[in-house]
């Protein structure tokens, strides 16, 4: 692992400072796993001490089996050329996370999106309740226990499908009296 000296060094610095677990994924990719309370300290440390001046992305994953939301903060150092992933897991019931838009302004956008799509609350977050959706009063739609197909079939008008349930080329050939091209025969649904 001689090529990954700077990644290993960074990982050691952060894990030793905060007593964390982490790993080097590959060159230029480092991830650390932190508690929810430590995240803002780690981000501030990385920004001020290690040169990670850019918040590239924030996202959320719904681990419904563990009953957890995982939040991932991706930050980037233009000097070291390393992406650092800070990952944390929070409770799925009444999810709440610290607001970091005082560290990076652009975090505001991601946090508003997460508030809308997953229902995670960020205390002190500025901005309208509606971000992308308009007048949404159901469960936040990106949660895994939200049944989007059921919701769509109840809310919107479904057009009934063709009754023959054949491959579309066969239907066209029947109606127009032309032959089905050879390459299309393998898609036939007739046994």
């Amino acid at each position: 692992m001689t090529e990954l000296i700077k990644e290993q060094h960074l990982l050691d610095t952060i894990t030793n400072t905060f007593k964390l677990k982490g790993r080097v994924i590959r060159d230029r990719r480092v991830e650390v796993f932190a508690d929810k309370e430590l995240v803002s300290s780690i981000l501030l440390f990385a920004k001020n001490q290690q040169g990670f001046i850019h918040l590239a992305h924030m996202t959320c994953i719904d681990w419904i089996d563990e009953n957890k939301f995982e939040l991932i903060y991706t930050i980037w150092s233009p000097v070291e050329k390393i992406h650092l992933f800070v990952k944390t897991k929070i409770d799925r019931e009444n999810p709440e996370m610290e607001n970091i838009d005082s560290i990076w302004d652009q975090a505001n956008t991601y946090e508003r999106e997460m508030r809308e799509m997953f229902g995670i609350q960020f205390p002190g977050l500025i901005g309208e309740q509606d971000f992308v959706l308009e007048d949404w009063d159901e469960m936040p739609p990106m949660r895994k226990d939200f049944d989007t197909a059921k919701y769509a079939s109840e809310t919107y008008f479904q057009r009934p499908g063709r009754e023959d349930a054949k491959d579309v080329r066969e239907t066209i050939s029947e109606r127009s009296g032309t032959k089905v091209p050879d390459f299309a025969k393998k898609y036939s649904r007739e046994k």
């Binding site: 007048d135 739609p141 769509a152 809310t155 919107y156 479904q158």
Partner: protein
């Protein structure tokens, strides 16, 4: 001596011919279909030879071309644009998304069948339809206009309550002005 019926026929013929030969299109470019419009209008396919021409505002437009999926949020704007257009007005639904939702059939915020919300004259299927299909859709619309069958603006006016009920079912916060068209 020409009686009233015959003269009305002649007037209708001229009227429909002029309407058919001069279609000002308001291209509502949602989704990926918007990229097919430049190809249709520019030199390779040149829709202007059919008298099809872009209009910048709904007041001047005859055709509302909806080029792809419609989120509930977008539908609100489409309804506003449609109601600002002056009669006679036509709607062309473009691509699978306007017909049955296409690949977004189970999405939580895109509508599936456009004609439940505003009346549609012609659907062009395909994902995406090529410029040839777009032009053939316009030619189909021209045939309908020449036969005098395309009067969906009237249909919308007469069945307004039914359309409004459908629209309000998904647009919960209805903050729109009432038009006296």
């Amino acid at each position: 001596m020409i009686n009233d019926k015959d003269s009305q026929k002649i007037v209708d013929f001229i009227q429909n011919f002029a309407r058919k030969q001069s279609l000002f299109v308001m291209a509502y470019g949602t989704g990926c279909g918007a990229i097919e419009i430049p190809a249709t209008m520019t030199s390779r396919y040149d829709a202007e030879r059919f008298g099809i021409r872009g209009a910048a505002t709904p007041r001047q437009a005859d055709v509302l071309l909806i080029t792809g999926y419609l989120a509930t949020k977008t539908l609100k704007r489409v309804i506003r644009v449609y109601e600002q257009m002056q009669e006679p007005k036509y709607v062309i639904g473009f691509g699978s998304c306007t017909i049955n939702g296409g690949m977004y059939f189970d999405s939580y915020n895109t509508i599936n069948a456009l004609e439940q919300y505003i009346p549609v004259d012609v659907y062009i299927n395909g994902c995406m339809p090529r410029p040839e299909s777009v032009i053939s859709g316009f030619v189909k619309l021209q045939e309908l206009i020449q036969q005098g069958k395309a009067d969906n603006g009237k249909k919308y006016r007469e069945n307004l309550e039914w359309y409004r009920a459908n629209q309000k079912k998904i647009i919960k916060n209805w903050k729109m002005p009432d038009y006296n068209w």
